[in-house]
Structures are given as structure tokens and as C-alpha cells.
Subunit: 132 residues, 2 copies
DNA sequence: TTCATCTATATGCATACTGCACCTAGATGA
DNA sequence: TCATCTAGGTGCAGTATGCATATAGATGAA
């Protein structure tokens, strides 16, 4: 099936963490080289397989990471198909991943801060809501 | 102090949930009318007081919510100062808030999916990382 | 050979969100 | 009169992203 990626995904949900694919790609590259097309397939591990990533986003993030020195790339011939641009995490990319993790932990705290506010509020105004 | 809001906040952290202020405003308006300037102050409850929101964002989100019928507004004279545009949550806005909560719970799941992947991976490659 | 398909990378365009600078304007008090 | 506070708003630029599309090598079928 041609165009099996990203046809009709309709990712209009509002939920999304800005540039969240970036830390996912960094993690996938941690300890293992890979290329864009393969990374695209492996992103399913991160639980958004229902709204898979668009390939253009992946390639652009990878180039951006390289521009900032967080990954390096080289062209490699595969066993089949066209040449691949294989990316590897750099030491500063490893640090950048650590930074992202701390950042996402902060996001998690803020998110739970919202959930707490929501729960507390709904215990008083018990209208319209999902009660636990 | 003039311009006490948003001067020098430097919100260049990368972490952020797209349009996250929207559900926060909806929750603040749940069961209680309010106006933009007041909402701006109350957003501190949600844990991002270190990077307070920009007022322009708040006003734009409120207008956008009204355009979509999730809130209604009326002009009201306050005890002091200029007139205020007071917003109230509509029934569909209440439903929209419920949708946002479900959406953020999904975000939370995805986030923890990332944390799990990270932790599992770092247990093998114990280099470069925050060990628990 | 020719052609469709798969793999792989990439660009162009439109839209959306946001930060920052700046503007308008009534109220208030020195 | 004038600065300041309260309150709401616009304009612009940068960033992120979805979708369509382009390019091109490899592969296998007709």
C-alpha cells in the first residue's frame, strides 16, 4: 500500500507536547545509530502509534539536531534500497537528552498540578464531571 | 512596578504543552465568572508561576474560546478601574473541558511511556545518565 | 526494457501557537 | 496635570507541524 504513513491520520486533537519527537529520537539514537526511515518505524514504542509521526517532521528534526551538534550523520549504503543518512548521538546530544528528560519531568509535574486542581475543584462542584 | 508581567521571563525552555493554558482557563471559569486580568493572576495555581503566561496569549485564547462558543462574555463595570470583559463557561465549554482532561490524561500516558522507555534503556546502557 | 512499487530523504506551503513590543483608554491619586 | 495602575488589545516574527509533493535509487513483474 503506497503512502501507508500519515494518510488520513487527522491529528487535530490539540494534545501534543511541543517538539516531543525530539527527545524520542534522541533516546532511540542513544547507544545505537539509525536512519530516519527506521527511526520513524521505531517511534511506535512511545505510545503514539495511533497518530504516527509525519516523516517530514522526523527528517527536519534530525537535521535540526545535527545543526546544533547533537547528532552527527554519514551516508551509508544499505543492503537494499537507496542510501541512508545514518545518525549517531554526540556527547552533547547525550547531555541534551538529559536536559529534555528533566524538562519533561517538569511538564509532568505541571500536568499533575492541573489534574489536582481539576479533582479538587470537581469535588466541590460535582457537576459535569467524571468523578474518579 | 509597571510591566511586572512577562518582562524578562525568557520562556525558551522547549517544554510546553500546546495550548495548555486553554484547559487551565476553562477550569478557572468552571463555576465562576472571571475576566482576563484576574484569570492571569489565578493561573499561578497551575504550577508554572516561574514562567507566568503572557497577557496577550490569555486574551487571545479567551476570544478564541468565545468564537467557538465555549464561553460567553459581557462587559461589566468594576468597583474600580476600566470596564472588564467578564467570561462565563457555557455548557459546551464544560464538555470541551472534559475533552481536554481526557486529552491531557493521554498526554500523561505518552509521557510516562517515554519515561519507561528511558528508564529501561538506561538500565542497560548505564552511561551518561541520572541513575535513579 | 519498461513500469510500478518500495525505500529513503527532502522541500514548499499553509496554518497555528506564542513571546515580545507596543498601543488604547478609563480610573486614581499625587 | 501627569504618572501609574488596571484592563484589553494588535502586529510581527519565530517556531512547529501537517499535508502535498518532489526526487531518486532499488527491485521485481510484465
Amino acid at each position: 500500500m503506497p503512502g501507508r504513513r500519515m494518510r488520513g491520520a487527522r491529528n487535530r486533537c490539540g494534545r501534543r507536547i511541543t517538539r516531543f519527537l525530539e527527545p524520542c529520537l534522541l533516546l532511540l539514537l542513544h547507544g545505537e545509530e539509525s536512519h530516519g526511515y527506521e527511526l520513524l518505524d521505531n517511534l511506535g514504542r512511545f505510545g503514539f502509534s495511533e497518530n504516527p509521526a509525519d516523516s517530514s517532521t522526523i527528517y527536519r528534526i534530525l537535521r535540526s539536531l545535527e545543526d546544533r551538534g547533537f547528532v552527527t550523520s554519514r551516508w551509508a549504503e544499505g543492503d537494499s534500497g537507496p542510501a541512508r543518512r545514518v545518525y549517531a548521538l554526540s556527547p552533547s546530544g547525550d547531555e541534551y537528552l538529559q536536559m529534555w528528560v528533566g524538562d519533561l519531568e517538569e511538564t509532568d509535574r505541571i500536568l499533575h498540578c492541573f489534574f489536582n486542581e481539576y479533582r479538587d475543584h470537581m469535588e466541590l462542584h460535582h457537576s459535569g464531571g467524571k468523578k474518579t
